[in-house]
């Protein structure tokens, strides 16, 4: 299925022995245990697992969005030679939104309800590319919105989130995440809250972003069939541990772990 | 056994230290009031030649310019303030919840009119509304209680109405109605008990506002008539002797502050802790 797309060998992000432990309410709780993975340039990596498997925590850790006050973390997340897990907040901010962007599960609530769409799409540029003029920013935003499949981006630019449907809001989120052409896009269940038709369109859009801009994507999902459609490689997580790792076809056609087997079995066969 | 239960109850309070501090303050104020009902060092209206005395063993808070014992007057005055605030809440919450629940449940033109009136009155400061009512019906302790009670009705109408409207559309209420449960039963058995938390927190806030409003009114000389003074009026009378007998102002003032603080700290202690900025 993805035989035609080229995966460069260069690793862009390396996670080594990641361990995340919360001590929020007195009882420590391990969310991720000894996770190691490599994301290559231009690759789409799927992270699959049920809720509580630690997949979203991993995504938030890469994006630097974990609350460090309530967390013990071990291991390292290396990007650009920097350990994102232990670097200073300002170093982290330098990458956030510019080199590493994220889109979320809930497009309905992930946008600021009182700010115009255009301002939110441009925000990463306002923060990271102060050299751009307002007109240049607007132009880039409208281009990103068009690329994200929003019809009439000039109009949407001046609208507010409540005027858009869930699918359009997720496209806005994608436009905002890709406006600065990041190297890594983290997509945390980006289609879960959307209906099936919209879901397929968003998946196609992610594939297109990957193919055209070479953006590496970490795609978090509980839906193995979606992951198979989109991702080059897959990691299956369960209770904070990676139980299986391999190319989509390997994992899908020849699961080695019983848990993966049960996930594969759970896919309705009609889809095949 | 009893201690473990107390402990587990306390453990469920988000901020037990704050809650206990508030409860202790409240307990102290109520003790002062209850003791005052049984015994006071002096008759609160009894004048004596010992005028304008400072703090002493004979007069723990000194005496005012008529030689009356300030501690006794504080005990009596805090009883008035406390009872007026309680009565105010009973009237305000009683009428407000009843009207709000019924109009919210049925809706329609009556609801619309009630809302217009409530909107108009709600924005009206309690003290002003009470002033109007007192000016119409005359100034007495009982009238102040009614006036404040009526002044608090709109806020409870609002709370009860919005809660009832919210619950009216919930499935379990719809089910009850489909099963033919009488409207009154739906309102008072199925809806109101489920919103009692919201209403209780409003009663607690309301009590504090009632204490402050009563104090303000009585400072203006409205309400209890001399020589039976409530706390605000004592402060008003003592203002000119503040420098001679500071306790004449500070005594009743502190009791007002503590009465309000006790409940508000308890309420604070019950509130779940908020998050923080990342």
């Amino acid at each position: 299925m993805h035989g035609d797309s080229v995966i460069a060998d260069a690793p862009i992000l390396q996670i080594r022995n990641l361990r995340l432990e919360f001590h929020d309410h007195g009882h420590p709780e391990v969310a991720v245990e000894d996770l190691s993975l490599t994301l290559h340039r231009g690759e789409i990596l799927g992270v699959v697992g049920e809720s509580g498997s630690g997949k979203s925590m991993t995504a938030l850790a890469i994006a630097g969005l974990l609350n460090r006050h309530a967390l013990d973390c071990g291991g390292e997340i290396l990007f650009d030679g920097v350990d994102l897990l232990h670097c200073g907040r300002s170093t982290l901010r330098h990458y956030q939104g510019d080199e590493i962007s994220m889109i979320f599960q809930e497009p309905m609530t992930s946008l600021d309800p009182l700010q115009r769409i255009g301002m939110q799409v441009e925000e990463a540029l306002r923060i990271h590319h102060k050299e751009l003029s307002a007109a240049e920013r607007k132009e880039a935003a409208i281009r990103a919105m068009g690329a994200a499949g929003l019809a009439e981006p000039e109009q949407v630019y001046g609208m507010y989130p409540h005027e858009l449907s869930g699918g359009m809001r997720q496209r806005v989120m994608i436009a905002a995440a890709t406006v600065s052409r990041p190297q890594i896009l983290i997509a945390d269940e980006p289609t879960t809250a959307l209906d099936v038709t919209t879901q397929a369109q968003i998946i196609a859009l992610l594939r297109q972003i990957n193919a055209e801009d070479g953006t590496a994507i970490v795609f978090i999902s509980h839906d193995l069939s979606l992951v198979r459609q989109l991702c080059h490689r897959v990691i299956v997580m369960r209770r904070g541990v990676a139980v299986e790792m391999g190319t989509s076809d390997e994992v899908f056609l020849n699961p080695r772990h019983a848990y993966t087997q049960s996930l594969v079995d759970a896919i309705p066969k009609v889809v095949l | 056994m009893a201690t473990t239960r107390t402990r587990s109850l306390l453990a469920r309070i988000p901020n037990p230290r704050l809650f206990c501090a508030g409860a202790l303050i409240m307990l102290a104020v109520i003790t002062l009031i209850v003791i005052g009902m049984v015994w006071m060092p002096y008759e609160p209206t009894a004048m004596s030649p010992d005028r304008l005395q400072g703090v002493s063993a004979a007069h723990l808070l000194g005496t005012d310019k008529m030689g009356r014992d300030i501690l006794s007057r504080v005990m009596y005055g805090s009883r008035i303030t406390f009872l007026v605030a309680l009565g105010t809440m009973a009237i305000g919450a009683g009428f407000g919840i009843l009207v709000g629940a019924v109009t919210g449940y049925y809706g329609g033109i009556v609801d619309e009119v009630v809302m217009r009136v409530t909107d108009g009155l709600f924005a009206f400061p309690t003290v002003l509304l009470a002033l109007v009512i007192v000016s119409l019906f005359g100034s007495s302790t009982l009238n102040v209680m009614w006036a404040l009670g009526i002044a608090f009705v709109p806020s409870f109408i609002r709370v009860a109405r919005s809660e009832v409207i919210r619950c009216k559309h919930l499935d379990y209420v719809k089910n009850a109605r489909l099963m033919g449960v009488r409207d009154a039963r739906v309102i008072f058995v199925h809806i109101l008990p489920n919103v009692s938390g919201v209403i209780m927190s409003n009663v607690m806030i309301g009590f504090n506002n009632a204490v402050l409003s009563e104090a303000g009114l009585s400072y203006l000389g409205i309400g209890s008539q001399p020589p039976y003074a409530s706390l605000g009026q004592m402060i008003s009378e003592a203002q000119e002797i503040f420098f001679t007998v500071p306790s004449a102002v500070l005594g009743p003032g502190m009791v007002i502050v503590l009465m309000v603080l006790g409940f508000s700290l308890m309420g604070e202690g019950l509130r779940a802790a908020e998050g923080r900025m990342a």
Binding site: P113, Y160, A176 | -
Partner: protein, 313 residues
Amino acid sequence: MRYVLKKTATTLATLLVVSLLLFVAFQLISGDPATHILGTGATPERLAALRAELGLDQPLPARYLMWLTAFARGDAGVSYVYHQSVSSLLSAKVPVTFALAAMSFVLMCAIGLPMGIACAKHAGSPIDRAVMVANQIIMAIPPFFAGILISWAFGMGLHLFTPGGYVSYETSVPRFLGYLVFPAVAIALPRAAQLAKLLRGSLLEEAGKNYARTAYSRGNNTNGVLYGHLLKNAFLPALTFLGMSLGTMLAGSLVVERVFNIPGISSILLASIGNRDYPVVLATVMLIAVFIIFVNLLVDILYKVLDPRIDEE
């Protein structure tokens, strides 16, 4: 625009209902104005003549309309006690009370808003906790008690102002305002504490929402998230509070004017309540009601300006 028109219409409706209620209440309770004016010893002929002159022989709805139109023109009748027009009695005092309330409002915002933001930003820190406990205590102090303490501390102790040294705004506006600062602080403090608490809670609630996480993911620092996104959202609940505060500050002025001997409407209103001088009481209350109802309209319009989700329907 339709929203504004609709809100204006509701405001006028509220105004009519409130004025009608006040008018009817005062009519029912106050008895015969002619007797009040002429005294009980007046002859029936003179009473009847005055009733006709005042339009009291008209039915209630007509009297209401007459009173309302006269009030709108600034004619609020004649005081029973002072035998002069209510407007002339109040005209010099109303600006004083409103100035005090306005200054209290400004002080409340100047103290409460920054404090709320700072506490939210440092939520959970020892300073935040100390401020929140102090706030709880300040909220429990009635303004008149605070006023007495302030006038003692700053007047007698620090000699920063002279209690009773009121200067009319006709003499010197700066000295007039200078005298109002301390009374205004007494009125503003408890409300400022409430505002800070409200804004802090509201900000922290917004900080927990998904869009705040989105803002962080774009590389915003805490200030960027706070001022760029959270503040506007968190301000909406505070707006209702601010609107209601203007009314509270007027009520607070009535009480605190007495502490500082400020010649606003407090003394005449209280004297009129005591004397059952109903025209003065009715006019004062109506004036405050009109003000409060229009403030509410302003708040509604501001909501519309700040929140695009409020629909036009």
